[in-house]
């Protein structure tokens, strides 16, 4: 099932041609009809219906609702949202009811959007398949025996299944782009700091960003335009582009695009290579100046990521102490026993794994050799991105080395699972924006093409992404 472009839905609601209550019912029905994919943890039915009713009443009274009037959406379950629990797909947050909403949700609601459900994820966003969810694994909409990618797998599957016109995700090492690639959606990862993370369950704070998963680039633009900009509740936020994020599509003629050598090397599935090369040929035919470009430190990105990310995870997850909120072991006799048992029962295996790796690399005696060294290699990576963007407008490569893998294929080997992110993590380390666009299929499974731009060039990236999307369609 497909939805019209978000801007069209909103203007029809504003004009009284579509009713918000009908849109919400349509989304809820789609969610019920597609339950077998397990993309959704919970619906926010009561609050969604109430908001839809209020919005229709505003329209009837002649009031202007906003640019997302009556548009249903789905939030990854690590966003604090009223009307349902916020669990981050973890046992330790089961039963947690948000006492306030994330800034992202507040901004969407202020423009008239309606959250209808919370999407599944790898618990605390730790993973690339949703198999690390403490609750259940989401199935890929194209092939239910395969994973949807992760960690925003529920959001990507929901978008492709047409459960709502768009979904929100978060991307720490590829968690928006990878599932977009595996499911065949558009996944947008903005410049670090462009969207507030206030009220989003933290994973690795020097890497985490919020972004949309949509059916088309123009929808991602509108959502970004509503969300982007500083927020006093998140001091890492940066100023929005004065021109906004709704650019006209730009011609590829004269645009210099660098194909990343390191992403086209060994380990790339043949079908992904073929689809990527076919996509690149289309861009060349449309007038883009395609060059090959090497960023020699890129293969180190994953090692840097798997030091910095667990380090920050171990720090961020230390707040789950069983005392203030979340699961707390009721039988413990003293404080230490309470910590140990709460965290033993509340955290899944991957959270424990990352907390322990993070604890190790931050511990006295190892800090310089691991954490500080990784931060310094990060500097080198950033310098290589900067040098590349002296030569080209955009960088390009596949989003992932493979198409969606089978459920269970990597679940016994965490390192193999980590390698899924090999082409996405460097973007987070450098804080630059990137978009994953559908780029054909390999054996019937979607392939994603990743377009990367310099920091704060989100507007230019989206303008070009519109053209590329059309060429690849």
């Amino acid at each position: 099932m497909t939805w019209e472009p978000i801007a069209d839905i909103a203007s029809k609601v504003q004009a009284g041609e579509l009713k918000a209550v009908d849109l919400v019912e349509r989304a809820l029905q789609a969610i019920a009809d597609n339950e077998s994919y397990q993309a959704i943890i919970a619906t926010t039915t009561e609050r969604a219906r109430q908001r839809a009713h209020d919005i229709d009443a505003q329209v009837a009274a002649g009031e202007t609702v906003g640019r997302l009037a009556g548009v249903p959406f789905i939030a990854k379950d690590n966003f604090l949202v009223f009307g349902a629990e916020t669990t981050a797909a973890s046992n330790i947050l089961k039963g947690f009811e948000a006492p306030y909403q994330s800034t992202a949700i507040e901004r969407l609601e202020a423009e008239g959007a309606i959250c209808v459900a919370k999407a599944n994820l790898d618990a605390f966003a730790h993973g690339s398949s949703t198999e690390n969810s403490d609750f259940f694994t989401t199935k890929n909409p194209v092939d239910p025996t395969r994973v949807p990618g992760g960690s925003s797998g529920g959001s990507a599957a929901a978008t492709v299944l047409g459960l709502a016109p768009f979904a929100l995700g978060t991307d720490t090492g590829g968690s928006i782009r990878l599932p977009a690639s595996f499911c065949g959606a558009v996944g947008y990862k903005p410049t670090y700091g462009l969207i507030s993370r206030s009220g989003v369950v933290a994973m690795a704070s020097s890497l985490d960003v919020v972004g949309p998963l949509t059916s088309r680039v123009v929808d991602a633009e509108l959502v970004l335009d509503v969300l982007a900009g500083q927020d006093e509740l998140d001091s890492t936020t940066i100023a929005r582009d004065e021109q906004g994020y709704l650019p006209p599509a730009t011609d590829l003629k004269g645009k210099k695009i660098g194909v990343i050598t390191e992403y086209m090397g060994e380990g790339l599935q043949p079908g992904v290579r073929t689809a990527t090369e076919a996509g690149i040929a289309k861009l060349r035919d449309a007038g883009a100046d395609i060059v090959e470009l090497s960023l020699p430190s890129l293969p180190l990105g994953l090692a840097v990521y798997y030091i910095l990310c667990p380090a920050e995870v171990s720090s961020n997850l230390s707040r789950y102490d069983g005392q203030r909120y979340g699961y707390g072991d009721a039988e413990a006799h003293n404080l230490d026993e309470s910590y140990l048992q709460t965290r033993e029962r509340g955290f899944g295996k991957e959270a424990k794994r990352r907390i322990m790796i993070g604890t190790y690399v931050l511990s006295s005696g190892y800090y310089d050799a691991y954490y500080k060294r990784a931060q310094t290699v990060r500097t080198r990576l950033i310098a290589e991105f900067a040098a590349a963007f002296e030569q080209v407008d955009f960088l390009l490569g596949p989003t992932a080395p493979t198409t969606a893998f089978k459920i269970g294929e990597h679940s016994d080997d965490p390192l193999q699972m980590y390698l899924t992110d090999i082409m996405t993590v460097a973007v987070n380390l450098a804080g630059v924006p990137a978009v994953s666009l559908p780029c054909g299929v390999s054996d019937g499974l979607p392939v994603g093409l990743q377009l990367i731009a310099p920091q704060r060039a989100d507007r230019a990236l989206l303008a070009t992404a519109q053209t590329v999307e059309e060429l690849l369609a």
């Binding site: 001091s235 180190l300 840097v304 203030r324 048992q341 965290r343 424990k352 322990m356 050799a369």
Partner: protein, 97 residues
Amino acid sequence: MTKLTRDDVLKLAQLARISLHDDEVAEFTDELSAILQYVEQLSSVNLDGLQPTNQVTGLTNVMRDDVVKDYGYAPLELLKNAPRTQDNQIKVHRMIG
């Protein structure tokens, strides 16, 4: 090459305040060793003249006025998520012997 021992893993678990079952200790000993061996490829990278990156967009200290703002949160609503409460306060285990 780093190879963690069973005792290393037990010590890490204690530092991180996670109790582990015996089978988990064995499993984590192997898995964490493999992950650490993978990330050790960074040890041979030449980093002369480079400083660590702490913040990617170049922001430094972001200051605000130190004033109380009313966000409308009701104290009792905030307490609802606490595992144990008494007299509208969070109840914790004794911290000092």
